[in-house]
Each structure stands twice: as C-alpha cells, then as structure tokens.
Amino acid sequence: MRRYLPLAVVGLAVVGLQLALQAAGTVYYLTQLTMAAFYCLVSIGLCLLMGYAGQLSLGQAGFFAIGGYVSAVLTTLKLDAAEPAARLLSSLGILAERRDAYENFLLGVSPWAALLAAVLVTGLVALLVGLPVIRLKGHYLAMATLGFGLIVFRVVLGTRLLGQADGIGGVPPLPLLGLQVSGGRAHRVESYYVAWALVLAALFLAVNLIHSRVGRALRSIHGGEEAAGALGVDTARYKLATFITGAVLAGVAGAFLTHYNGGIGPSEASSMKSVRYVAIVAVGGMDNLWGTLLAGALLNFISLRGYLGSYDDAFFAVILIAVMLFFPDGLLRRARVGRREGG
C-alpha cells in the first residue's frame, strides 16, 4: 500500500509540528495552522477537479461560503420553543440550546444537523450549477464559475438574513466525541487535530480516487475529452461528479471554519479567495495532491499570520501569474510516470 505512505508522513508531520510548537512555547501558531487545514480541504477538492480532471473552477469560494453560511444561519437561529417550527425540529432531535453574551438561552439547530444541511445544500447547488456549466470548456467554464462566485458574493452582501457586510457572528463550537472545534484557547490543540484529521480523511479519499478506474478516466478527460469519450468514458458524468466532490469539500471546510472562528463574513465568498485556491493548486503542481497540500498549508499560514499585510490578495495573484508564465504545468511537479505506473 505504497500509495498511503505520504498520508503517514503527513500524519507524523502534523503530530511533530504540534509537539515542536509546544516545546518551543509558540502554540499560538496552531490557530493559523488549524485555519490553514480547513482551507487546504478546498484546495484538495479543486486539485481533483482542476489538476486531475482538467476543469478550472473560479467559484470555489462560493461553495465554501454556502457551507459556512448555512451552518452559521442554522446554528444561530433564535427560535421560540413554543413555535411549531421549533417543536418540529425538537421532535427530530436537532435543536440545541446555547447562551449568548448576556447569558440568555437561545434555541438553534444543533451544529451537526447544520453541518449535514450545509453539505446537502452545497452539493445540491453544485449539482444545479454544474449540470449546465460543466459542459463548457476551458475559458468558458472558468468564466461561468467566476460568475457563480460573484453571484454568491453579491447575494451574501445583499441579504439581511446573512448579515450583509457584517456577516454572522455568535456561531457555537462544534462538539465532536467529547472534543470541540472552536477558537477558544482551551480547545486549540484538539481543534488542530480535528482539522488535520479531516484533511487526512479527504486526502485518503482523493488518493483512492486518483488510483482507481475513475481516477484514470478523469486524467484521460484532462488529456483529451474526445478520445476519452470514444473509449467509453462518460465524460459529462465524471466531470459533474468531481465538480460536486470539490464543492462539497469546500462546503465542509466552510462549515468547520465557521464553527472554529465563531462566525463568517462576506470576504470568504469573494472571488479573490477563489483565485487563491487556484493559485495554491497551481503552485502545488496541478495534478499533485501532496504539492497542493504543502502549498496550501504554507501559503495559507503565511497569509493568516498577516506577514503579507494588505498585499495579501495581491501576493496570491502575483504567484498565480508567475506560475502560469514560468511553470504552466504547475510549480511542484514530480518526476512522473516511472513512479506513477506502479501506482
């Protein structure tokens, strides 16, 4: 099972990094590393879509935002226990009580039910957007997905339910097997491990996929859609499935980060975020999961630490241009084929 070896390496690196930061007394870095992990999920999904299947999406931030906002809205509802809606949700066992800053009890949807809803809504939107859009090729697909991202951004900014420019705050932590995903200092280490466990799970699925019959078909679509179709590959179906996979990963990432940060704002839906995800996959070497992971962890960490100041977005745009100019096949390419043939 040589294909899983890099997974073990990543797992050890995650543990090693945490121990090293602990020893160095700089555990506060874990906060940015946790957030970077969630952003990595988006890039892993995009790596499958763009790197392997060869379909460029400039709308991943839209899916991230949909996941985040669905979670945020549902978990911050202020229901009255007497309302019929509240009674219905309560009978389904998916209501949760929380306390606001003034110690008032509030009723909202429980985080796990909200997460499930976030996944379903993201997947459904991806299906509805993907059905017509995924037929488009190259620049046209990029423009259509860019348009989708812009729509999500403007809808978020214009909708009162979504907090408009302020976003949504007061999102409760996500409880998980006695642990908690939240930004509070007490939960910093466990949140870090939950985030990276999620990344490892996504990588596990992605590694499986790219080594499978379907993964080979995806790479053949990248290499030549006509030829792939003529060999029996249902190109439309696989492209759509990968589009939805990428969107759902982005939606999960959005929901988790929203719980971690205790809220979400419209900047998460901006197309500059989408450009960032594309830049990360490009730096990572396009059809290279491990490169994408490395680039995602590193670049997001640098950005989240604020080292780039207000040039944050410009930095990612410059990286993207530079990679396209000098390494159009991606920066971190690996010595291919010889190794891949065995996989």
Partner: protein, 254 residues
C-alpha cells in the same frame, strides 16, 4: 452480412455540407477502406459513427441497432472504437495507463467505489492491468509500458493507440489514417497487424491515403468526394473505376 449500415447520413458545418446522403455497408469480419481526396468528409464520417459528432440526418446501425444520436461513450460500450488522425494518446498518462483507459467500457468500478477503494475493485484493477499489458505484448509495445505517452516514438504512439482501442474489445474498429507518418517498413508491419486484428473477428473500417496499403489489405473500398459517395467496390473495381481516376487525377482523364 453487413455489421454496420450507414444510410442517408448527412452533416454540415454552417454552409459547408461535409457529409451528404452517404450510404454504405461494412461487412462483418472484413476490412473496409474509406478513401477520397482531402476534405472529402472521411474524418467527419468517422466522427459521426463514433459519436464525436451528432448526425444531423440519417442513420447508423450496428447489427440493427441505431447509433445515431447516442453519446460517444455509449457507442464505445456497444463495440465501436476508434483511433484518431493525429494520435490522441493522453500525454500525462503512461503508455500502459493509456491502454488501461481502453478497458473502461468493459469494467465497472464507479465513483464511490473509487473514493473508498472498495476491496471488490482490487481484482478488477489487477485484471485491467494484466489485460492491458497482454495486448501491449501482442502489439510489441510492452517494453514502453512505463514511459510517458508523450515521450514515445511516432510508431509506438500509433501502436499504443491501437492497443488502447483493442482493449475496449470492439466489434468494429475505426482507424483514422493509421499509416500517416510511418515509413515503408512500418506501414508493411501495420498492414499485417490490421490483418491479424481482422483475424480476431474484429471488423475494421479505415480511412487511409496510402493506396498501396489500402489495395493490399482491404476487401472493400468506399470512395468519397465532396461529402458524397462516388463509388464502392473491391480494390480491383475501384482501381478501374473512371470516376475515381478522374477524382484523383483531374477531370480530363476519363
């Protein structure tokens, strides 16, 4: 008996009538050639049969079953596979992986099975690899299995592309100018390979400009010009057909 029946097939691009009311039959187990000058509509005809293009009018029947209007992947699953004029190997895949993609229509591990690496897919995956390798061995290209498709020689690319199409277990194999770019010796090898393919009970339809190859291996020839069928017959009949001679040599030789 005819395995593939093309009737009244027409297709135009804007104002250009690329294929116009073409009728012909491809006999089961034979080698049929489509010939004609450049722009006669041969490749368009291939694209219509293989589903790369959707015919605007007419019918294409495989063993009585209508293919016109089906998407390419369904047509491949029904047993019509092809190679392309400019070799269309997937450049980022190894030669072996290219041939393994050819097994796609004959295997079934789906998206979820792939994501979860379900154990039942392991045996299938091994079988795909074994079968692909054995076809490459038959065609004498097994030694380049691990190489990137883009780094293969022209001759190897052609053979790997044919191996890839054979991996799909076609009943009808469409070869689009398989000899283009090959030297005399390689073309001879190709001719005997096509015969061997026919001997495996695979019906072959090819587009080819190399007339000595066509006359040598084909049972029947269909001649197209400006999108229309102008002649059909055995190689001997076609060689003596005045209309064909005039198409190839100019109008005054009749």
């Amino acid at each position: 008996m005819s395995l593939l029946q093309v009737r009244d097939l027409s297709h135009s691009f804007g104002g250009l009538q690329a294929v116009s009311e073409v009728d012909f039959d491809v006999a089961e187990g034979g080698i049929t050639a489509l010939i004609g000058p450049n722009g006669a509509g041969k490749t368009t005809l291939f694209n219509l049969i293989s589903g790369v293009l959707r015919p605007q009018a007419g019918s294409i029947r495989l063993d009585g079953r209508e293919l016109a209007g089906l998407p390419a992947h369904r047509i491949a699953a029904l047993g019509v596979c092809r190679t392309f004029q400019t070799t269309a190997l997937f450049p980022r895949l190894s030669a072996l992986e290219n041939v393994m993609v050819g097994r796609h229509a004959r295997t079934r591990a789906g998206y979820l099975a792939g994501l979860l690496n379900l154990p039942w897919t392991w045996a299938e995956e091994r079988a795909i690899r074994r079968r692909a390798l054995s076809i490459m061995e038959e065609l004498g290209v097994a030694d380049c299995a691990g190489e990137a498709a883009a780094s293969l020689s022209f001759r190897q690319q052609r053979l790997v592309e044919i191996a890839r199409a054979l991996a799909a277990e076609p009943t009808v194999l469409l070869l689009d100018e398989p000899a283009a770019g090959l030297n005399l010796h390689e073309t001879e090898e190709l001719g005997s390979l096509i015969r061997r393919i026919r001997d495996q009970e695979i019906t072959v339809l090819l587009v080819e400009h190399d007339m000595s190859l066509v006359m040598d291996i084909c049972d029947r020839i269909v001649v197209l010009s400006y999108g229309r069928k102008v002649a059909e017959g055995t190689p001997a009949e076609i060689q003596g057909n005045p209309e064909v001679i005039s198409i190839y040599l100019g109008g005054n030789h009749v």
